[in-house]
Amino acid sequence: SQQGEEDPQALSIQEGENATMNCSYKTSINNLQWYRQNSGRGLVHLILIRSNEREKHSGRLRVTLDTSKKSSSLLITASRAADTASYFCATPPRAGSYQLTFGKGTKLSVIP
């Protein structure tokens, strides 16, 4: 069953701008992960945030997690054309599950 839902479905920005993508999920989680998928390629893991963390940074990426609202956001600062890709959040479908379920993704286009 689908757990995470990304919003917006598509986002188009100019190079240098910031991009924010949101993810909402339904059940309790122990962690939430973000992945990137370039066209014609597999998913690449970006960042994992645990349920007891509120914010995490990795380079130009900033992820926040609000477990009370069951939502997360991914912020990409100073975007580059190479950031053009689809971004997915992934969560376990239910507490204690071994697997991950992925949303349908946000398609980000960064215009040079």
């Binding site: 122990n30 014609g40 597999g42 690449v44 893991h45 376990p92 071994y98 697997q99 991950l100 992925f102």
Partner: protein
Amino acid sequence: DTAVSQTPKYLVTQMGNDKSIKCEQNLGHDTMYWYKQDSKKFLKIMFSYNNKELIINETVPNRFSPKSPDKAHLNLHINSLELGDSAVYFCASSPEVGNQPQHFGDGTRLSIL
């Protein structure tokens, strides 16, 4: 060095045929997965193996049969291919069972004529 490699990259075949997709990972991971991504980019888990043992088997037609000869390999055999099987199939691996970061192959694009 490719961490998770799948072959073939493209597979075009006719309805009713049987085909196999191979996956190998050189990361030393214990857990491997097969996913199906449809035309709308929705990624759905099909199977997961941990140390050659099946641990996740989602609602997948029994025409799909995974095989793990060792923990570095997870192959997918599909019998009697149907039009609805057209999709991109991704193999992935993670160090062990649990909600750990997964490493994905670049996918096998299966087209059924």
